[in-house]
């Protein structure tokens, strides 16, 4: 699904965000990318969505060669990815239904099918009764559920979440992570950048840790810190 081959990224300011990062994410995997602020996590997300191009090396996302991709293909790539943000990023002038349907409209989904699909994803995230509500009428957890529903509407192969629980209380965070785990169980690849050590420790998934633009750890069934690794999970990738 995702392949990074010796990827370097240097911004115009001279900051070396990534220095030779290589990793592979298989279809249907659940991956946490962790690291301190400024370690390069967000740059990885930006490269996957082709917001940025690598300075050196190759990035492939679902057969899209990010390094050599034409600009006109960027929207096509992004329609294959469901994005979830810390600040939810819902369009305030549209209600819940319209926010979710908007993603389907972009791919030209027929009206009838779109209504059905929105109804299904709203049921999955438990907000069927809030379809007519405006985003500002919802709690943080509900807004994030709407964002997840929007990410799901086009049935993407990959869901990318950048600090999805950053603005939520622990209880709501748990439910959001449970939802993402459920989506992953149905075959969707999920990549989450997070600082939430409790969730990472509890979920025991693959963890890639970034520090100063380099991967310092890539472990299966791991936790936020090395000491959190369960004894049965020592067969990590790196």
């Amino acid at each position: 699904m995702i392949r990074f081959d010796n990827v370097h990224k240097t911004y115009k300011t001279g900051t070396d965000a990534l220095r030779g990062v290589s990793f592979k994410v298989e279809d249907g995997e659940f991956l946490f990318i962790i690291g301190k602020s400024g370690s390069g996590k967000s740059t990885i997300i930006k490269l996957i969505t082709r917001e940025e191009k690598p300075t050196q090396g190759f990035v492939f996302v679902d057969r899209f060669p990010i390094s050599k991709m034409q600009r006109s293909l960027i929207p096509v790539l992004r329609r294959h990815i469901g994005m979830i943000f810390q600040d939810f990023r819902l369009i305030e002038s549209k209600n819940v239904f319209e926010n979710i349907a908007f993603a389907g409209e972009l791919v030209g989904m027929p009206r009838k099918k779109l209504i059905q699909t929105v109804d299904i994803v709203l049921s999955v995230v438990g907000l069927r009764n809030k379809a007519a509500a405006m985003p500002q009428e919802l709690s943080g957890g509900e807004q994030q559920r709407v964002a997840i529903a929007r990410a799901m509407v086009n049935d993407p192969k990959l869901i990318l979440a950048d600090e999805p629980t950053g603005n939520l209380d622990p209880q709501t965070s748990e439910s959001i992570m449970a939802l993402l785990e459920e989506i992953n169980r149905n075959g969707t690849t999920v990549v989450i950048c997070t600082h939430d050590s409790n969730l990472v420790d509890r979920m025991k998934k693959r963890v890639i840790e970034i520090e100063a633009g380099r991967i310092i750890r890539d472990d299966m069934d791991s936790g936020y810190t090395v000491c959190a690794v369960a004894p049965h999970a020592e067969g990590g990738k790196s």
């Binding site: 819902l90 305030e92 002038s93």
Partner: protein, 299 residues
């Protein structure tokens, strides 16, 4: 982009106008003012060209034939003037007798001194020629002078040269004013739309992350700008129509519409003004919006 997405964008464009009514009003007012000035220039230059065309045709070229000229020589000139419709608007031949009578009329009460005048001996056949454009004078005079029976060709050379130059200046002035006003309008509308775009910057970035194409994001703003431009154009046309009709009535109440200094009535300028205003307004609005939104779609 699917057809439904396309129509959604159009609908969004109309909604955008109502979303920020004050910005919309300010944009309409700005374009309206520019189009009003543009309309004034269009009318001024159309009137100037009309008057100059008339004036250019007024001082005719006078052709004096030789006194002993033959019928064939006169027939050749008549044939040339009749056939050169591209350059010759009108011509009139006068016999020695007609010239004599005209001369007597000009003398008024003193005309009796010409009673015994033998006009057939001393007065030639003449032609009065009016041209389509003053700039054709040189070519027509050269042709006329080449005919064997022609004694002299008289023309108001300086007036012709002045008129040709003046007409060129009016054309260049109009085109320059149009270009400058167009650029100013474009600059102002693009700044106005920038406010509207800025207030929706977050929405635009969300659309980009979801996979919206640049065209999809840009279209509502372009539609919004084009609509603002069109509304401004119709208002500018309406105001110009009413104002110029009033001015025309005031100025032309005692003037013969056929005289060379008569200005054009509004009904003959109306379509031109509407078309130029509508085209400019829509272009300024759509292009200005398209340019403004560009910066925000590079996500």
């Amino acid at each position: 982009m699917s057809i439904r997405a396309f129509f959604n964008s159009i609908r969004e464009g109309f909604q955008g106008m109502l979303r920020h009514p004050l910005v919309t009003l300010a944009s309409i007012s700005t374009i309206l003012l520019m189009l009003l000035i543009m309309s004034m220039f269009i009318i001024f230059s159309a009137d100037a060209r009309h008057i100059m065309k008339n004036v250019g045709q007024q001082p005719p070229i006078e052709v004096y034939m030789k006194l002993n000229g033959s019928e064939e020589e006169r027939a050749a000139i008549t044939k040339y003037l009749s056939e050169d419709k591209k350059q010759v608007l009108f011509f009139e031949a006068a016999t020695p007798e007609q010239n004599y009578n005209q001369f007597k009329t000009n003398l008024g009460s003193s005309s009796s001194i010409l009673d015994d005048f033998d006009y057939n001996t001393y007065l030639p056949y003449t032609y009065r020629v009016q041209l389509v454009k003053p700039s054709f004078a040189g070519d027509v005079v050269m042709h006329l002078e080449a005919f064997p029976g022609v004694n002299k060709v008289m023309q108001e050379q300086q007036v012709m040269i002045f008129l040709t130059k003046a007409m060129n200046w009016v054309n260049v002035g109009t085109a320059s004013a149009f270009a400058v006003l167009f650029l100013i309008s474009l600059f102002i509308i693009s700044n106005m739309v920038r406010i509207s775009v800025y207030s929706r910057a977050t929405e635009i970035s969300i659309m980009k992350y979801i996979g919206a194409t640049n065209a999809y994001i840009r279209l509502p703003f372009v539609v919004e700008g084009a609509m603002v431009g069109l509304i401004s154009a119709v208002c500018a046309w309406g105001i110009t129509y009413l104002a110029y009709s009033k001015i025309f009535t005031m100025l032309m109440s005692k003037v013969d519409p056929g005289s060379f200094y008569a200005i054009l009535p509004m009904h003959s300028l109306s379509t031109l003004v509407l078309l130029v205003c509508a085209f400019s307004g829509v272009l300024i609005g759509a292009f200005g919006s398209g340019v403004s939104v560009r910066k925000y779609i590079q996500v």
